[in-house]
Symmetry: C2
Subunit: 430 residues, 2 copies
C-alpha cells in the first residue's frame, strides 16, 4: 500500500485548527530527511511502522500530523559526502487540534510523546491555536492582580526567599518573615524543599507567617503575601490548598514541574482557591537543560505554566548562582508577559544568588514588569533581613524612577552597605 | 563565618536514614571539585550562596546533605594542566530522609531540584531507604497479580497496541480488539494519544471493548484486559478512573510522565480503583534522553513509577523503531522486577516496532517476566489481527518452553507468515 507524502506547505493549513511544534533534530549524514520527518509526524499521530488497511484516507485527512517546514542549519544546497558529520535540522509539524482536547498532558504526549524517545530531537517552540488555549483560564491574578494585592503599581516587585531553607520552626521563620516584610518585601516564599517536617508543618507556618505579615502591615501599611509551599501528590495538593486557605494563607506555592504542570491548571481552575499561585523551577532543568533533547525553557517554565494558571514563576536568573543564558531569560520572561490571547500575564521572578547590585541590569532587561527573588542577599545583609530587603527595594524603586544605583546608594545606608557587601554588576554591554 | 567541610565518609552515615543520589557531573578543568560538590549539597538542602547566622550547627547536623563520594572518570592522580578539556565526575550526595517526607515531588525537588539548573549534571541513581519507600504501597497487582487475572503463569505476556492510533469509532476499534483478543492477547491498550475525541469517548470504548473482551472469552476461555487511556489533569484523571471502572473497565492506562508520577500514586493508593494500571512512556525521553543532563531511564520509567504503583510500564524496546540501548533496557527491566523491599514487581513491557522475530532475543534478555507490546506486527499481519496476535503468542509460548522460533514456525502457519513478513532478528552476541 502506498503512503501519501505528508509534507504540506504551511499556507495550506489553517493555523487556527493546528498546534504547530518546532523541533531541532540531528541526523546522520545519509538520512532522507523527508522520510525521517514524515516518520515523526506519523509516530505522533495516526501511524505505526507498517501500513494498515484500517488507516484510511479519511482518518489520515482528519488526524494525521503534517510536516510543514524542513530547514537545514546551515542550509546546504549541494549533496554532502557520506562521511560528513551529523546534520542539523529545524522541523515544523502541525497537529490537528481536535486530536488533543483541552489538556496539557495530551498536548505533551502529542507533540513530544514518542519522538522524545526516537533520537536527538528537542522541542523548541509551540504555536497554540485559540481553540486550544480557550480551554484554559490562565492566571486568576497575574501581574496586574498581584500588583493590586500588594499596592505596587509602578515598580518591580520583591520576593524574599526564606532562608535557611530547612530547619527553622514556624515561630523562628515568622521572625525572619517579619523582618523581610517590614523591609518592604511584596512576597515571602518558602523554600522549594520545605512543605511539612516534624519541625515545621505548613499549616503552622501559615498561622505564624500571616500573623507576622499582619503585624508588619500594621507597622508599615504595606501588604506582604506569603507563598506557602503545599507541594504534594495531586489529591493531597488540593487538600493542602484548602487547608492553607482556611488557615489564612494569602498565597500558595507549588513545585509544579515535579507534580505536573496540569496540577496547576487543576488548582487555578478551582473557584475555591482564590489566592495567587507561585510556580517554582525545581526539576525543570531535567527537561530543558540539554541543548539537543528535551523541551526549551520558555515552554517548560513560561508558556505552559502560564496557560495552566501560575500567577508568578520563579526561574533561574542569568546573573547569579544558577546556569542560565541571558537570551533564555529574556525569551522566558517574554513567554510570561507577551500578549497570549485572553490569558493574563504571569510575573517573571528570576532568582538564585541575586542582590541589589544586579537591579540595574534586570531593569534594563525587563523594565518594571518582574519580581526579583532574593534570599542570601536579604538574610545575609550585615544589618539584618529588614535592611537586606530595604536595600533591594530601594534599588528597585530607584531604577523604576530612572535613578542610578549610585544615587540611590548615597541616599540609603542599607543599600550602601549591601553594595559594599556585593558590588554592583556592570550594565550589560559595557 | 567559617563553613564546615561537608565531605563525609560513606561509612559514617546510616543508609537507613538517607536518600543517596548518584550524579554524573562535568566541570571545567580548573574547578575545585570538593567546593563544587559541597555547593550542590548545600543548594539542595540547608544552604544558600552566603553564610547565615541562623543556619546553626544544629540545623546543619539535622538537615544538611552530605557529599559521600567523589570519583573522577578517568581517575587522574596528578594535577592536570589548566588547558585540559572538561573533567567528568561521579558524585554521591546523601540527603536526610526526614527532609523529604513520603512523596515523589519533594524527592525530585530534593535530589534534582535546583542542581538541575546549575550546570551539566545528570541523576544516575537513587538509593531509597525503607523509611521512604514504606510510605508507598506500590503496584496493587504487579506481575503476579496480572498473571493471575489473565491466567498466564509461565510465559511472557502479550499486549496489543490498538492501531490505527486515532480515528476509529469505538465500534470499529472493538472489532480490532476482538481480533486481538481471540488471537490470544493478554491485554489490549489504547494509543497514548487517544483519550476522548468527538469520534471516540473513553467511556464508549470501555463499553464496546469490554463487550468484545467478553465475547472473545466466551469463545476462547482466555481473559483479555483492556487498558483504557484516561490521561488528563489529576482531578479529571481520578474522575475518569471512577467512570471507567463504573462502565466496566478491567484496567486503566495513564501517560504518567505527562501527568506526573505522583498522580500514579494517587490512583494506586485509592481503594476504589481496584484494577491494574499501565504507565506509558510518552514524554519520558524529555527527561532521560540526554547523556549529560536529566535523569536516567531506569529511574524515570522504572523505580519511581513502580514505587508509585504502576502494574505494567510500556517502555522503548531496543530492537524496534525507537532509540534505546540494550544495556538500558536490561537495567530498566531490572528496576521493575528486582527485589525492592515489600514493593511488588512491575511488568516490563517493551514496545515500538516489535514482532514475532524478536521474541527469542527478548526472552534471552528477560526470561519470561515481561510483556511484549506489539501494534503494527499484529494489525499489519497479512492474515489479519487475530493471526498477528496468534503468531506472537506462539513465539512467546514456544520460547517459554525452550523451543526454537523455527520449530514453532513450522507448527504455526500464522507464525510462519509473520516470519516471512518480518524476518527473525539474530540472537544477541551472534
Amino acid at each position: 500500500m502506498s503512503r501519501p507524502i505528508t509534507f504540506t506547505l504551511p499556507e495550506s493549513i489553517d493555523q487556527r485548527e493546528f498546534v504547530v511544534a518546532t523541533y531541532l533534530y540531528r541526523t546522520a549524514p545519509g538520512v532522507d530527511i523527508h522520510a525521517a520527518a514524515r516518520a515523526i509526524a506519523e509516530m505522533q499521530s495516526t501511524g505505526t511502522w507498517v501500513a494498515l488497511e484500517r488507516e484510511t484516507r479519511t482518518i489520515q485527512e482528519r488526524h494525521s500530523a503534517r510536516v510543514v517546514a524542513i530547514w537545514e542549519v546551515p542550509d546546504h544546497e549541494t549533496e554532502l559526502p557520506a562521511d560528513h558529520g551529523s546534520r542539523h535540522w529545524v522541523l515544523q509539524i502541525a497537529y490537528p487540534n481536535h486530536n488533543i482536547g483541552g489538556q496539557i498532558p495530551l498536548l505533551l504526549a502529542t507533540v513530544y510523546g514518542e519522538c522524545a524517545s526516537a533520537g536527538e530531537i528537542k522541542l523548541l517552540d509551540l504555536h497554540l491555536p485559540e481553540a486550544f488555549v480557550g480551554a484554559f483560564k490562565g492566571p486568576k491574578f497575574g501581574l496586574d492582580g498581584i500588583r493590586e494585592l500588594v499596592g505596587a503599581a509602578d515598580r518591580p516587585l520583591l520576593i524574599t526567599m526564606l532562608k535557611p531553607a530547612i530547619g527553622l520552626t514556624p515561630k523562628e521563620s515568622a521572625e525572619v518573615f517579619y523582618q523581610a516584610a517590614i523591609g518592604g518585601s511584596d512576597g515571602v516564599k518558602d523554600d522549594e524543599l520545605l512543605v511539612s517536617q516534624p519541625w515545621s508543618h505548613f499549616i503552622d507556618r501559615v498561622r505564624e507567617h500571616e500573623r507576622a505579615a499582619q503585624a508588619a502591615f500594621e507597622e508599615t501599611g504595606h501588604r506582604t503575601l506569603y507563598f506557602v509551599n503545599i507541594t504534594d501528590r495531586p489529591d493531597r495538593l488540593v487538600q493542602n490548598a484548602y487547608r492553607a486557605i482556611e488557615a489564612g494563607a494569602s498565597a500558595l506555592m507549588v513545585d509544579f514541574v515535579t507534580v505536573g504542570t496540569s496540577a496547576l491548571a487543576m488548582l487555578a481552575d478551582d473557584p475555591a482557591i482564590a489566592v495567587p499561585i507561585m510556580g517554582h523551577l525545581a526539576f525543570s532543568g531535567a527537561i530543558y537543560a540539554s541543548p539537543r533533547t528535551g523541551v526549551s525553557s520558555h515552554l517548560v517554565l513560561g508558556k505552559l505554566p502560564r496557560l495552566a494558571g501560575a500567577d508568578i514563576i520563579v526561574y533561574p536568573s542569568p546573573y547569579g548562582t544558577l546556569s542560565f543564558a541571558r537570551s533564555k531569560h529574556l525569551r522566558l520572561a517574554g513567554a510570561m508577559t507577551d500578549p497570549f490571547y485572553a490569558i493574563r500575564r504571569t510575573v517573571p521572578a528570576p532568582g538564585g544568588g541575586l542582590h541589589a547590585g544586579m537591579v540595574p541590569r534586570l531593569v534594563d532587561d525587563l523594565g518594571i514588569d518582574f519580581a526579583l527573588g532574593a534570599g542570601g542577599a536579604i538574610h545575609g545583609h550585615r544589618q539584618g533581613a529588614a535592611a537586606g530587603a530595604r536595600a533591594i527595594r530601594r534599588a528597585l524603586d530607584a531604577a523604576a524612577r530612572g535613578e542610578s544605583l549610585a544615587e540611590a546608594g548615597a541616599a540609603s545606608p542599607e543599600l550602601a552597605v549591601a553594595l559594599e557587601q556585593w558590588p554592583a554588576l556592570e550594565p550589560a554591554g559595557s
